[in-house]
Symmetry: C2
Subunit: 215 residues, 2 copies
């Protein structure tokens, strides 16, 4: 019975997500669902990426958080349109939340919509919001056991950005284990090792993203 | 309608949690619900704590993970009874999962049962599992914005262990902001600043926990 309810919720979500995807495609907007555990650096990556690529693409952002507007303020300062969704307890964004917000976004003036999901390594991976690509971050400080403990997000994402590589000398983390486990879970996953704080290693990510948007 | 379903689930959960609490009290077992985001160091803290206090208290552990048995193996090596729950996708433990496992635990031989929840800063705080005290970890590397973005767990916990303090020189984190925001959210919350990796700052936590168990 419990499974049945959950299945129905996911089916309804997928239907709304498909409508979101169609609405975005009709406007020529490429949509990214950006996911990670809390504090992995999604907003910092997004700030760096918008700053690097805003000459080539017009970005818009939807920020998902339990509460507060901190991240939306950071992004807004870059001069791009941003909407903050407060989920008030919900641990992930779903397609319906995005559907409600799309009419508020100036889609005619955008090339890329980035949806920054709630910080959570579990549920966001289960809910299609209408994106064209799922991208995830892993903070190196979360440890090398995360791919095997939280496999779904690694399996569903097209790109994995391992952030906070500058902390490597100060952690007991085996980066080779992360590389190997990720490859076994998802051989197609593109891996980028970066420090968003220092600005290191980001060029290959910008190149990949630019090509993915245009594809 | 959606709210009603969620409320019913939480009411049923609370009823089962109350039964768990009574069953544990009847056996004289103190129960801790240990929560944090992924990779904050719950298992390392637990290993250190069991090693330090096993001469005074008999510990048992229930490990909650989406999948895998890594943490249970680490704890089992310390010579304490441990059960691994695999939630197979669920992002938190609920009272029913614990109820199913209590008969498998040698409660007559225990003083303390630690339930290590799934790594998630959101939902575990919403589900009472029958514990006597909620204890949470925050990894310093998750950033100083976490209390205001994920307030519920900070509000519901009795103790907060800020872990990975050894990374402070390598992060853009304002520890004073964490201290202040936490105090505003929950004036009763006991704060411990530690490095589980280095073994620094743990004695006040051991003292507090020992007194809390005996109370």
């Amino acid at each position: 019975m419990k499974v049945k309810v959950v299945k129905k919720i996911l089916e309804a979500n997928d239907r709304i997500a498909e409508n979101n995807r169609k609405a975005l495609r009709d406007k020529g907007v490429f949509c990214i669902n950006l996911m990670s555990a809390p504090g992995a650096g999604k907003t910092t990556l997004l700030s760096r990426t918008i700053t690097a690529l805003k000459g080539r693409f017009r970005f818009g952002v939807i920020e998902g958080d339990i509460q507060g507007t901190h991240d939306a303020e950071v992004i807004s300062a870059l001069g791009v349109p941003v909407i903050q969704i407060n989920t008030e307890g919900a641990c992930h964004l779903d397609a319906n939340m995005i559907s409600d917000m799309l009419p508020e976004m100036p889609l005619d003036d955008l090339d890329v919509l980035v949806i920054e999901n709630v910080g959570n390594l579990v549920c966001p991976a289960e809910f299609d919001v209408g994106e064209n690509a799922k991208v995830m971050l892993l903070s190196l400080s979360e440890g090398d056991d995360k791919p095997l403990k939280y496999p779904l997000m690694f399996q569903k994402s097209e790109a994995l950005i391992v952030n906070k590589m500058d902390l490597l000398p100060h952690l007991d983390v085996d980066i080779e284990k992360i590389r190997g486990d990720v490859k076994a879970l998802n051989p197609e996953l593109r891996l980028f090792e970066v420090s968003c704080r220092k600005g290191d290693g980001l060029d290959p990510w910008y190149t990949w993203l630019s090509e993915r948007i245009k594809r």
